[in-house]
């Protein structure tokens, strides 16, 4: 059962991946509209991506904890 | 350690060691790398700023010197202009004087010449009058066949002259 639980724990990575794609597409839109603000958009995007990624990272850590021991 | 009843392996010693590691690294990197680089860059920035200020000062000085020069140049020009004006005025006055003198001389020469011409004219006229009178005498004596008395002669000659003169004038 434990491997199954670990695989299930990785499900949040799906949402994180989709939403990171969304955020990136919006950032590309914003950069295309305002190329001069690209530096600021870039840093905000990275911050948002890091925060969104943390979901996937939590799920990954939990899966590891389940799978390894 | 055991006497204190402390089991060191139970304490999360890794946290302490890691934090100590980070603090040590921070101190080393800051004192040996970060601060010197920062100081060097700040010193360079300050030096560049000082040099820029100096350059600005020098530029201002040069501007001042240039303005001074320009003023001097202007003064020189004005002086030269004044000199030239004065010289021209002097020369003009001189020229005027010379011209006036020449004029006067010319006038005097002209007057002289005119007076002489008049005198000559008068002389010639007198001579011619006498000649004409003599000639008329000769002719009239020939015509009359006798000599004319002085009185007659005088009267006739006068009349003739008067007529000829007035006739000449009338024509």
């Amino acid at each position: 059962m434990t491997p199954f639980a670990a695989a299930l724990a990785l499900l949040p990575a799906l949402g994180a991946g989709i939403m990171m794609g969304f955020a990136t597409s919006k950032a590309v839109d914003a950069t295309a509209r305002q190329p001069e603000a690209s530096g600021k958009i870039n840093s905000i995007l990275l911050l948002g991506l890091a925060l969104a990624e943390s979901t996937a990272i939590y799920s990954f850590v939990i899966a590891l904890i389940l799978a390894v021991k | 350690m055991e006497s204190l009843g402390l089991d060191l392996s139970k304490i999360p010693i890794d946290f302490l060691l890691n934090i100590l590691n980070i603090v040590l690294l921070f101190v080393i990197v800051r004192s040996l790398a970060y601060k010197p680089i920062r100081k060097f860059m700040d010193a360079r920035t300050a030096r560049v700023a000082a040099e820029a200020a100096k350059a600005e000062e020098k530029a201002a000085e040069a501007q001042k010197v240039k303005a001074e020069y320009e003023e001097k140049l202007q003064n020189c020009e004005a002086e030269t202009q004044a000199h030239r004006q004065a010289a021209r005025r002097e020369a003009e006055a001189e020229a005027d004087a010379i011209r006036a003198e020449a004029h006067a001389e010319a006038q005097s020469i002209l007057d002289d010449a005119r007076a002489r011409a008049k005198q000559e004219h008068d002389e010639t006229l007198g001579t011619m009058q006498r000649d004409v009178v003599d000639l008329a005498f000769g002719i009239s004596e020939k015509l009359l066949g006798h000599s004319i008395t002085d009185a007659d002669t005088k009267k006739m000659a006068d009349r003739l002259f008067d007529e000829s003169l007035s006739g000449g004038k009338a024509s």
Partner: protein
């Protein structure tokens, strides 16, 4: 040494020699070529053949020595193995981090003694790199957290040096300290200390407590929880990313065996260079954001 390995070795050696001869011939032919680029283009095919056959030969030799690929299997431990040092039981990654500290200290001393006195007004080479890094970190900290103190950029600079050094330690076959949750949690605790320190210094102890209870006192437990979650999230993010990268690299190495010669370095460009740099950036920007939030 079975027959298959022998055939592989011999075949790759023969192919290598053939391509070498071809390359030499092409080189001789194109010696009179006036355009060196064109000559290089003509030599390209035998050159690649040479490289690939050489790679295959080396991979076969490595397989022979190490016993070939182990298949897709990985013995992974969440926590690094422990070493007994007198009365203390210390994680190996902690020792790696101390070795790293020593290396960085030696490099710093060398820099201070040798490179620093040679600094000139016009930066060049190493000086250019260091100046750009210091300038970048200074500006970055200033933009993200304001002018709190001159210590903060220095701390962030040293954290960046440490994280990049950790990534580099993986290249020397060590388990990177950042793939140990205790190390990343220590880093995050330092950030936590800094954000509380600056928060209290800027607003006073009472102001800090008041800002935690800012909309209403009811929400205070939630605010405290989210503040405590900040270092946990920082630590888990760094740990998860680094461990993930390490697992991918280990899997690649284990599953390819000897064939991993040269290929892992290509993958390492992403997993050992780009990824740690991005994570360093994110760790620092998140730390600065938390600190700014605490001081605002």
């Amino acid at each position: 040494m079975d027959t298959l390995t022998g055939i592989k070795l011999a075949a790759s050696a023969v192919v290598f020699v053939v391509f070498l001869v071809l390359w030499c011939k092409k080189r001789h032919d194109t010696l009179s070529e006036p355009d060196p680029k064109k000559a290089k283009k003509k030599r390209r095919l035998p050159f690649f053949g040479m490289v690939i056959s050489a790679w295959f030969f080396v991979a076969c030799v490595v397989n022979l020595v190490t016993g070939g690929p182990k298949g897709i299997s990985l013995e992974l431990e969440m926590f690094s193995p422990r070493v007994q040092l007198g009365p203390l039981s210390v994680a190996r990654t902690t020792l790696t981090a101390y070795v790293l500290l020593g290396v960085i200290a030696v490099l710093c001393i060398l820099f201070r003694l040798i490179a620093y006195p040679k600094f000139k007004d016009e930066p060049k080479g190493l000086q250019n790199l260091l100046e750009a890094a210091v300038e970048f970190v200074d500006k970055f900290v200033h933009d993200n957290a304001g002018d709190l103190s001159p210590v903060l950029p220095a701390y962030m600079f040293s954290v960046a040096v440490l994280l990049i050094g950790c990534a580099a330690s993986e290249l020397f076959g060590q388990r990177p300290p950042t793939s140990d949750v205790e190390f990343t949690l220590s880093l995050a605790l330092c950030t936590f200390y800094l954000l509380n320190y600056y928060g209290v210094r800027k607003k006073g102890l009472f102001g800090r407590v008041k800002s935690l209870a800012s909309p209403s006192p009811m929400i205070m437990p939630m605010r405290i929880l989210s503040d405590v979650a900040a270092p946990v999230s920082l630590a888990c993010r760094l740990f998860g990313n680094m461990l993930g990268g390490m697992i991918v690299m280990d899997l690649l190495k284990n599953s390819l065996g000897g064939y991993a010669v040269g290929l892992t370095s290509l993958a390492g460009l992403y997993f050992n260079l780009f990824h740690p740099l991005i994570q360093t950036y994110i760790f620092i920007i998140l730390s600065l954001t938390f600190i700014r939030e605490a001081t605002e």
